[in-house]
Symmetry: D2
């Protein structure tokens, strides 16, 4: 409902603006007994920290997280975990211009239309810094999922026109774009240099693979696992499209090519010969890896001249200067992973209540 709360059982609420006191998140509903410390969170946050390459904003932020509640003797207590990153690099500057006009591709106009006014400093609540809360919470969800044998591989699939043509997981962390194909990463960097010269920006596609999820997770009808993943991913600013499995390509395929045959694996378990479904059938996990993709639009803040309007109702020409990423895709990789982790975690917790025999077993042993 209220926009900044997310999840059902593992529920998070984020707060904070780009140039306010800080950015934070409260997790309500994290199970008790998970070993957790600030370093666990920081490792995730560092993946989205600014200033790490020439393709990301040069704003200086250590983005150091502090845990304010919910941990005792190194473990989660089951009560709310409050985390905060205080803002440091809030340059005092004249925001007057930004306050008066609406930047194309940004939420300036829509915030004014909805609320009557807005915190225009650095984009306020619609800034990319809002994702700090998501990533801090995602780190907790991912650590919990790790205990259940579930892991994530998330990476950049394409930058502008440059798509990966190889898949080497080890390559992902070796280039600033998080691409699993070093050659593609070099080409993409060349492409981005061109964008920057033209004072322009680029978009791209992020792919996330979730391994180890057992079959049977998710719900039919409205709470399908892929439906919840779609919402989670589209809730990230700048995402314009979502695919599960073959996605839009499935719309062009025939049923005989798109169906995944089942077979009995050597382990005796039911398995699928292919994974066109992306690990979900009827909204419920089918035991294969979950495969999803997010389409990210180009950064709307560009230095080249643009036409827009001001609050006085005049047509004006602007060019936006300042510290902006020519591409946000690399920094969004961990955000996509975090949102996916939150959904999977919530679905696993809810799924415990699906079958009476297992409920009876559970309480027999309590």
């Amino acid at each position: 409902m209220a926009g900044s709360t997310f999840g059902n059982i593992f529920k998070i609420t984020t707060w904070g603006e780009s140039h306010g006191r800080g950015i934070g998140v409260v997790i309500d509903g994290c199970p008790a007994g998970l070993a957790l410390c600030e370093e666990d969170i920081q490792a995730y946050l560092n993946r989205r920290k600014p200033g790490q390459s020439r393709y990301t904003t040069q704003r200086k932020e250590s983005d150091a997280v502090e845990i304010l509640s919910g941990i005792f003797e190194g473990k989660t207590t089951g009560t709310p975990i409050s985390m905060v990153v205080f803002n440091q690099d809030q340059r005092s500057r004249d925001y007057g211009d930004i306050a008066e006009y609406y930047r194309p591709g940004h939420a300036d106009y829509t915030f004014d239309a909805k609320y009557g006014f807005r915190d225009y400093r650095g984009g306020g609540r619609s800034s990319g810094r809002e994702t700090i809360g998501r990533v801090a919470a995602g780190a907790v969800a991912a650590k919990l999922l790790d205990r259940l044998g579930i892991s994530f591989i998330t990476y950049t699939r394409s930058i502008g026109p440059v798509e990966i043509s190889a898949f080497d997981p080890d390559a992902i962390d070796r280039n600033p774009l998080y691409m699993p194909d070093s050659d593609a990463a070099e080409k993409a960097q060349d492409y981005l240099e061109g964008c920057m010269k033209r004072q322009d920006s680029s978009g791209g596609i992020i792919e996330c693979i979730i391994k180890g999820l057992p079959a049977g997770i998710g719900d039919p009808v409205f709470e399908k696992l892929d439906a919840n993943l779609a919402k989670a991913i589209l809730s990230i600013g700048a995402v314009k499209g979502f695919e599960i499995g073959d996605g839009f390509a499935a719309a062009h395929a025939s049923g005989s090519a798109n169906n995944d045959s089942f077979y009995i694996a050597n382990t005796g378990k039911t398995a699928k010969a292919t994974n066109h479904s992306g690990g979900v059938l009827g909204g419920i996990s089918d035991g294969s890896s979950i495969v999803l993709r997010a389409a990210i639009k180009p950064t709307p803040s560009i230095a080249s001249p643009q036409k827009t309007v001001n609050k006085s109702g005049e047509n004006i020409d602007i060019s936006i200067h300042g510290r902006h990423d020519p591409i946000i895709v690399p920094r969004a990789v961990v955000v996509v992973e975090s949102m996916a982790a939150l959904i999977i975690c919530d679905a696993l917790l809810l799924n415990m209540t699906a079958r009476l025999d297992r409920i009876c077993d559970f309480y027999r042993h309590v």
Copy 2:
């Protein structure tokens, strides 16, 4: 949470199985005073009724809706509206085979994995008939939105490899595929004939345009309007992808091309020169038309032979016979529209609480 409930203020709960007593929906939270009768609902349901063309299942169902509560003297009372379509064509047949094996591309295996067993008759709860409840509720939402000047155009954008290359809204209802391009519709029908001969099936893409929505609707962060639309659309069985505005194409574009310039229209209002955003900026409507697309996978029920497993853990060969659609895209058009209407309706109601000055005005006049 529980899978069959959807929405926050305008909330619906659907129930029913393909071969059970019927399919129904309860709307809780519909405002009082909307003129509503069964014909309003029936008009929507008829758009998804089986047996209307040779491309849809020949199952005979009148799908006649009955309103059981919530209407008095021809108007909604503000209390729950219960609607039901009783099943008629439940052929008594031997379901034994289907009970024992898992159809590729269907939810048979995942339902068993989740619940331990399933109602296998006609797909049970995962049948396409489940969407009757969505469409009945969507008809109510759409009628309410019509009172606020909001309308929908929804159609088939592509069938397999055949995409529209013209856009004539009047053509949509003149072909059984609901395509706004009569030539494309003919080619698509040829393509489908081929699919049927090969005992195969096809997918396609549905597009929905929402007109008349004012700027300022939707919420930032997790409850973005496009995020909720994405969830709504992905919750429809067989949908594998979602796009808003330029969608995946935006990932390949540059910022200068993707940004929509604002200008002051002749009316004095702020408008956009283009609509790459698809009518949403930062999760909030920007006053342009909302444009979204859904990728629908090919019908998984095909008559050609397939490999799968049975519940005894054996690899087997099957071929599925019976009354199945070679393509579900045309019947899914109204389902996409219904889900979109539910989201828009809910967002408009919630938005009334966004600004204190408007709240004060509201209660001053009450």
Copy 3:
């Protein structure tokens, strides 16, 4: 939110009006595998059926329940359970008077104030018949809880000034007032005869004891088990007060008298020497029986003359005739039990997610 939906994991939505087509409920989130048939529901519904004694309305309703979905081969499937009781005794009569004025103690005026108009036939949605949906759902929750060793004893504690002074569980079903004290039941019947002669009505107090609930169920802070029980009980029409354990008497006691000492029982388990707390400490069950009470106001429909206003804004005198209960307490006993069962069921399901070690165990064995 929307008024007719209740619960989180075990979620119900009720619908229907006193003189409409029927009354129903949809349960979404009932675990799969619970043996369930219409007789299970009917047994509960019969406890609230009208016409069973001279103290209840003589309206003739068989209140026969039909299950429309969610059951397959005699067991719940995990998908929504839709149940309906069709109305039979809808006498065609002139409702004109009731439509025009506001009955004191009823919701006529407040429904008009909220919705602008109302279904005035028999009270519409605010009729006591609305509780049919609650009781049908409560029967399912109670059957599930029975599998977990949890049981209920619910009874009338007082009628007007007549309170029980003995407690014989076997007596409860032997008198039409469901009192566990036969002597008190006789006195109460005498008292009611007097009320009826005076064309007046009476209230009373219902007590519910929940046995077998393990310690540790419920949540701290806002989702305290007793807070949710309070909401559930107050949501029943005519309830004006709620107590857990010693309730208001605790406000007059000293801490030394009110605290319950813990001790180690013969079984080796932690137990309490007394139960002033009513089985809840800090919002979480403490292993003792849950003890709660509901205060029910006298039936507002009385035949003696009353002053009120009509919709034309005139002061008028009325007297209400028709089929009304001089007391609703006996019929409300099963409603209180049903609401309590829904809360306990929901809390037990949610509690499965409280501890990481148990979650890991759960998924290790899946």
Copy 4:
């Protein structure tokens, strides 16, 4: 669901432990445009601050609130308002004993039963300090309600056996017990002196009157206004009972005495001659003042010897020393008011969506 989140549209999430870094709250869904500063919040917090009289704990806490987000240029922006009170007086002490045994009347045992362990320092999350977040949020809700003409009078109705017999609103703030009867306040102070000498504690009853609420607010069936108030009040630690209007006394009354007659007031509006209903009929406000009461149990921390058990499963004798309130009633007054304000605020926002004509009006003027 998750225990520390409350409300639907005006939604709050609290966090923090008695001896952790601090206590905080995030409000998500507060309308934009409300003038708000830290002083507004502090005024409320000061009403529950410790150390203000000899009847409250002598723990030294300034309880100074900081607003971390959601305010821009002195007004709420519509995005989350994060507020924190950092803990100051966290004496470093040996908590060893408390960690090992279960204090009677406290949540020590139930937290261990639920979560497997607990933050035992000062009661951790179950401490009375948890209410800081509620009061900070309640201050915001109350300020918003003030704009709509809705106000609160909340006070102590009784302390142990001493009940008020006069009602002078001006007296409330003139005695440390917040009683509207100075004579009763003196007697109550004498009574508390006796309790303290006996190393014992006392409970009491708090009453809250809500003025200015228009008729028509609240929902029928499960979301009755009084049901939500009951949950809100019972969610406060130590509350054991709730009444609306005549409450339990209604159970002993006759219908003719309990019904409130309607009449046309001089203003031309519908009014009630009496207010036995406490301002709610059928779950919806009737235009009279809302009147509710909360029964508070005696402080469980008493210095006199008690019997209990330790985690090793042994019966032991304890006496609790430290800084404890002999009565928490006076400090709970503002907590009751805060919880009531949250419910009323949420109900008013939701109510804007009840009628189509008003929705159409609203959007016509937007």
